[in-house]
Symmetry: C2
Subunit: 207 residues, 2 copies
């Protein structure tokens, strides 16, 4: 079966039993997206390519998803859309961005489901070059640019990547290695220590 017509053409097709619709179509798009992201990376994947792989009209992809990052978030089963969170964090500018970032991050991810998803993401990074590239490109394209744009000072890209390394390390140490006392601490216990460090990376000062 090849690509079908517009979203409007979808309903009759489904009634004739020729293709799934609704949740099935969405699931088919996500399955195609997973495969496309894994083989082409985040940068190399297009909504049009996902539509082609799912054998649906590209307009259907736009019907279900609000852009490539939204498809990625759904395919990876992330509990939030990072773009929304990052926008909230950078809206306040550089003042207090370190503490805001750490606080928001753990509010989103420090749940059973959040931990499980982010550990799964990290596993895919370590299990294949393609997985690593996919995550790197997503972070670089969808998150870094927005953070770097609000930073002043020298080497903002290097400082942003160091800030990201600290967040990746917190996830690894707390959720995967389960290093104590970090693993059992309440975020309120380490926020006063990590916040100023993130602030230092992002603004060059400690508060």
């Amino acid at each position: 079966m090849t690509a079908v017509g517009s979203p409007a053409a979808e309903e009759p097709a489904r009634r004739r039993g020729r293709r799934p619709a609704g949740e099935d179509t969405r699931a088919a798009i996500l399955a195609a997206a997973l495969s496309e992201f894994a083989t082409r990376g985040y940068e190399g994947t297009t909504l049009r390519g996902i539509a082609r792989a799912a054998a649906v009209d590209p307009r259907l992809v736009h019907h279900y998803f609000d852009g490539k990052d939204d498809v990625f978030v759904a395919a990876m089963q992330l509990p939030v859309r990072p773009l929304d969170v990052v926008n909230r964090i950078v809206e306040g500018g550089v003042d207090g961005i370190g503490e805001r970032l750490v606080r928001t991050f753990f509010a989103v991810w420090d749940t059973d489901e959040g931990r499980e998803r982010i550990v799964a993401l990290l596993s895919s990074v370590l299990s294949s070059e393609a997985g690593a590239r996919m995550i790197k490109e997503f972070l670089t394209r969808e998150i870094f640019g927005r953070v770097v744009a609000v930073l002043g000072g020298p080497d903002p890209e290097l400082r942003a990547s160091l800030a990201a390394s600290q967040m990746i390390g917190l996830v690894m140490a707390r959720y995967v290695v389960k290093l104590e006392p970090l693993a059992s601490a309440h975020p309120d216990d380490f926020l006063p220590l990590v916040g100023p460090v993130m602030q230092r990376y992002l603004s060059g000062t400690f508060d």
Copy 2:
């Protein structure tokens, strides 16, 4: 075949072709150690247990290795014995410990072989609970205690685990995710940024 006699009894036994000696014995001990560490964790593994699993006299383990951490380092094919490096770092006390730690770490690991080994270690952490426990226990027992002992101030264990999280994150971001510009930067480029952060975690001040 069961345990044999003392190291002195080894040579005649080999000549009679009854058991391997020298490198073969060492290799048998390391193979047994890998299996013991993976199933019992670092804490639960003993030199006596390794000897039993390798079917050699415990004195042979002591003949080839200078303690449990030394067996671990050899079994994991680490390029250095972390204990030696940590001792050098903490000898100078808290003054400048952050920069010393980062500089020494990258001098040791930032080679092709070093990267390969440390990424393999991280992969074993992510691939199984047992792998994660083994690494956690090694870090906690052999490295943390020594670092925490020289730290002053409140919550030295929490601050040491946060410092470890930053080092784990640097390894993940630079070697695995290959986040730019961190991945391609020379250590001298990020040392001035990471050193003060590590110093902050370890001493509570920035220099």
